[in-house]
Amino acid sequence: MIYGKSTGVDIAVIGGGLVGAAIAYGLLEKGQSVAMFDEGEAAFRASRGNFGLVCAGAKGDKLEDYAPWALQGVEVWADFAERLTAATAIDLELEQNGGMVFCPEEQDLAARTATMERLRRRSGLDFDVLRPAEIARYMPGVSDNFAGGIFCSIDGAANPLKLLRALHAAVSRTPGASRQDARVSRIEPGSGGGYRIVTARGTTDCQKVVLAAGLGNLAMAECLGVKLPIVPMRGQILVTERHDPVLTVPSEQVRQNRNGTFLLGGSWEDVGYDTSTTFEVTRDIAALAVRYFPFLKSVRLVRSWSALRILAPDNAPIYDEIAPGAYLVTCHSGVSLAALHSGKVAGWIAEGILPEEAAPFHLGRFAAATPEPEVAHG
């Protein structure tokens, strides 16, 4: 693919993962002129390694404002999927049959129930507290070797790889909008206002820039003199061989894909930028999955991988205009929030007005924890 030495667009989106591609898709839908810069295989690519839950039930425990935002994101997901599938003919394999949060011990169940009650007062998200015998109605084959779980009927899962492929297909319908193997080395002030995006292949001038590069946002924000409080948090995932379809309700520990394979996961490791997999975590993930679903004992693993979550101190997203016309979007939940990112968040970038319910996610909320007087507030 050849682009000119220097080209111009209204909006440059840095990052071609689930966040960047959802925003680029949304901006194109709104008639904006967009260039999406996708780094390529060298990137950490959380979008290619994630579990695919479409989930509100587990969100907001550290920042209550996240609960209604996540709920809204899950509520509009089906419409978003329908439009994206209509545009690309790619089935996102969305299923919202409910989602389960397992609580191994009684104290876990009590604590989780208290959190859910607190968040329900904020967001209205409904849930059920279930014992193993009741969970078996939703999840056949579940054991009784744990305290219980929280069931949110609105939750579900999609195929994150299909989602990413569909977003890229949708963006690529506009010639020149999707720029592959286009690692952005820096953002510079534009000569006539706006910004200049610099890659190895040339430069692109733009009026606005969206920082949606996952962990790459750290370096991008630094170009604008802003330090971000995001860190990598490793998750390891195991995938099994195919099995007869039995499980239509997912959890963070076990979900069955449309193709019959099971994904096993749920590890959280603070190990920096290390994307290797380890024996100990593989063993622990498998052991917990078998504790909940004993029949998995005879289902064999095919492979494993790890990916890095992009985590803010309160696990919630950050939306902020960190410099005039420079929009920061970072989050851990690129799947759950994809519909909102292509809708309201793209609208914010196009029209400049952040919806009231997204206002709490400004960068300044971390100012007390990470004193950075030069940080701009949107």
């Binding site: 061989e241 195919r242 099995h243 007869d244 379809p245 449309r258 193709n259 019959g260 005879s298 289902v299 064999r300």
Partner: protein
Amino acid sequence: MNKLTTSFSAPFPLFRPIGDEPAEILLELDGKPLAARATDTVASLLLRHIAPETYRHSAVAGEPRAPLCLMGVCFECLIEIDGQKNQQGCLVRVRDGMRVRRQIREGGCDEQA
């Protein structure tokens, strides 16, 4: 022996044996006895005794599948052996007393009588 082997004889088997090696290994296919040659793999044995479209149904779509590459690459020959599902039949040599079970959807495929 003849009676045992004919209980799984397909009307048009995909393969026939070469040489005159005796069938001296006795195993179970879907709970019924079947005699095999010592050099057989599970896949080679079945390809002589069942209609290939009754070898396996895929896990999700339930489509008929049969051994293809016979060298461990294509994973089409998956079959339950001694209680463990999804073994590669083309890589497993037959053994006396082995219990082989085809992964067939219930009601999806006629038993060879």
